[in-house]
Amino acid sequence: MNITIRRFDKRKEPQSIEMSYPLFEGVTLLENLIKIKTTTDPSLSFNGVCRSGVCGSCAVSVNGKAKLACSYKPSDGDVIEPLAYHEVERDLIVDKTKAHKTLKTSYAHLSSIAILENSSKVTVQSDCILCDSCYSACPVMAVNSDFLGPFALTKVYRYTLQSNENKKAIDAIQTSGVWDCTLCGECTLACPQGIDPKMDIMNLRSISVQNGHSDPNFANMSFGDFGFNNF
């Protein structure tokens, strides 16, 4: 019974290798990683803080799907890799700087007074733990690395609901934002907190239209002019 971990060290050649470790059954992946580190290989590098699924630090990819290491029990043959669409720093540690920068570029914060009665509308959205699981599950990242991604958009939606107004953010999410999402729903499946970024993005599209924006895909769509324009 083994698990395979993709290791990465930029100073080694080859930089990336797969290593197999015996599986400790019945305990979480994070506990497996800790056992490996403290008993056999102290150089194995990963993050993990709270052990109970709320700090967002331990997300990794298991057989291609984002999982919190502290909430996942591994099975024989599992392949553990760093999160996708993040630059790998070392082993399972990734650089989250770029992903978290989307919070600034999308103005994902409260920009006017909070309407207190609206608190109950954002119960789920405000549970985000910034684990980046949704970001690493998003296929749009493969074609547009500037895409704002699911968690930033969910936060924009949260603060828009809480203040009933959020023009700066709504303007900011028109480029590489709400319209670039394919609505595939992978983010929703990946979220360990049960947040539904796909639905939040759909709602943000409606709000965008109400604010005078339009779907650029629709605007650019060619309905076929039979080439008459060439004449």
Binding site: S43, S52, Y107, E117
Partner: protein, 533 residues
């Protein structure tokens, strides 16, 4: 790198302090050893105490009572009087506190409170506060230095004034310094010394407290450690007090209830430990509440029991033990939250001992403390006028030399991970909720042996970048310093008071109605009791 206010730690206390200092016009840097929001604040479920009108006085009295004579009435009064404003501030930032059926903010009783004053956001109060504060910091362009592990404070020897701090930048593996006119330490508590037996996340190693002691400052009341009675047996993961509050039972392996479940955390914890010491297992029994009610009341707990114990709360008994949950002691500070003996250095939150919780903390007061006192720390650090900010200082070169030694001369013949586990175990058994002279002395001897062996421990991973082996080793070094003070305090406090219970001195003795004070002279730990002002 130079800033007006340097904040070390990015939990609720650090972020609140940063926002206030920035609002008052200062440049602010927040240095954090991992990423912002990876802090214990996110694990606080219960809620946030806020009192209004006549309840303010009751809140003060409840907090004073829980402190068992060693809380400061002035500090407690400050916190309770500012509690309502602190809650309003969080609401204004958009923290979505739960509403009741009438659209008012919902609140509930917490153990030891005379009135309903604990406001909550489902069972994610701390998480929602922390994430919202983080969003607000980004909005205010507050500069975060992530992956910066605190090594030491930079202190001007002549003026005894802080000038900044040194860090290990873990991305590059370099020792760097950040200079500042004032410093706020908000690095959290030291429950991590009980490795494997704490509900806290990894890294609660008392880094800030150890740094203050090394810099010539003072720590106090470290023997006061709060245990939580219901942590999962295998993993020490917390099962919220709500489980008992909603009517859950504690039963032993004979199927008998053995304690009034609604007593204070330390009383229930002692009953749990007594059962276990006498050879019986202890279980949390919530089966009679029914699956539907449980799913509504304790969704996080159901998930955690499934993952960590493979048990279903609706149908199974849940094996539990008591585990270390919160540390009352910390950096000794004055009423401005300035660290004793180090000018311009402030400490706030679980790492500081502002004499608010005294011998035991009331549920709901920790989130209140980090926000209300965080704002005050931000103000006081802003007002501080530095005299010696840019003087030459040798701390950076000393710390570079130390890290170099760890790489090259520490022999690594002894596996520190084994020692860390062993220390956690013996502390848990002998410096637990029930303590005695012999047991405490035994751990102290073992601990001092580990201190001697420290240079024979070390790291196997010699990489520079993201060397978590190195960070865990330095954290272990800090726990050795902090645990020594904890044990010395527990040994000398020959009485029982609040969370500190000595089976050989079961009564409270007012000879000890005093703060235990710790400092170092020429590397040697000194301790004494200081009367309450």
């Amino acid at each position: 790198m130079i800033t007006d206010v340097l904040i070390i730690g990015s939990g609720g206390a650090g972020l609140s302090a940063a926002l206030r200092a920035k609002e008052l016009g200062c440049s602010v840097i927040i240095a954090t050893k991992t990423l912002p929001t990876n802090a214990n604040t996110c694990m606080a479920q219960g809620g946030f105490n806020a009192s209004k009108g006549s309840d303010v006085q009751a809140h003060i009295e409840d907090t004073l009572k829980a402190s068992r004579g060693i809380g400061s009435e002035t500090m407690i009064k400050t916190m309770c009087e500012k509690s309502s404003a602190a809650l309003d501030w969080l609401l204004s930032l958009g923290v979505p506190f739960s509403l009741d059926d009438n659209g008012n903010f919902a609140n509930r009783f917490m153990g030891g409170g005379a009135n309903k004053r604990t406001y909550y956001a489902e069972d994610y109060t701390g998480l929602k506060i922390l994430q919202t504060l983080h969003d607000e910091c980004l909005k205010n362009d507050i500069l975060f230095k992530a992956n910066h592990y605190l090594l030491n404070l930079i202190v001007d020897e002549e003026g005894k004034e802080v000038n900044g701090a040194t860090f290990l930048d873990t991305v590059m593996g370099e020792v760097v310094e950040i200079r500042a006119k004032s410093v706020i330490i908000a690095t959290g508590g030291y429950s991590g010394v009980y490795h494997g037996f704490t509900t806290n996340g990894f890294g609660s190693s008392g880094d800030g407290i150890a740094a203050v002691i090394r810099a010539g400052g003072v720590a106090s009341d470290l023997e006061f450690v709060q245990f939580h009675p219901t942590a999962l047996k295998k993993s020490s993961i917390l099962i919220s007090e709500a489980a008992r509050g909603e009517g859950g039972y504690l039963v032993n392996s004979l199927g008998k209830r053995f304690v009034d479940e609604l007593l204070s955390r330390d009383e229930v914890s002692r009953a749990v430990v007594k059962e276990i010491n006498e050879g019986r297992e202890v279980f949390l029994d919530v089966r009679h509440l029914g699956g539907k009610k449980l799913a509504h009341l304790l969704p996080q707990e159901i998930k955690l029991c499934k993952i960590h114990e493979n048990l279903d709360m609706a149908n199974d008994l849940i094996p539990i033990k008591s585990a270390v949950h919160y540390t009352m002691g910390g950096i000794e500070v004055d009423q401005k939250l300035q660290a004793s003996g180090i000018k311009g250095c402030f400490a706030v939150g679980e790492c500081s001992n502002a004499h608010i919780h005294g011998a035991n903390r009331l549920g709901g007061n920790s989130l209140l403390e980090i926000i209300s006192m965080g704002l005050i720390a931000g103000e006081n650090a802003t007002e501080y006028k530095s005299k010696s900010q840019l003087k030459e200082n040798s701390q950076l070169s000393k710390d570079r030399a130390f890290i170099n030694d760890v790489y090259n001369t520490f022999t690594n013949q002894i596996n520190f991970y084994e020692k860390r586990e062993f220390l956690g175990k013996i502390l848990y058994h002998n410096a637990s909720v029930i303590r005695n002279d012999m047991g405490l002395k035994g751990v102290l001897v073992a601990l001092r042996q580990m201190q001697k062996e420290f240079t024979f421990m070390g790291i196997s991973d010699k990489s520079l970048e993201h060397n978590t082996n190195l960070i865990e080793f330095i954290e272990f070094g800090n726990t050795l310093e902090v645990a020594e003070m904890l044990l010395v305090g527990a040994l000398h406090r020959n009485e029982s008071r609040g969370a500190h219970f000595r089976e050989d001195f079961k009564e409270t003795n007012d000879t000890f109605k005093a703060h235990s004070i710790f400092w170092k002279e020429d590397g040697v730990l000194c301790a004494e009791f200081k009367d309450i002002k």
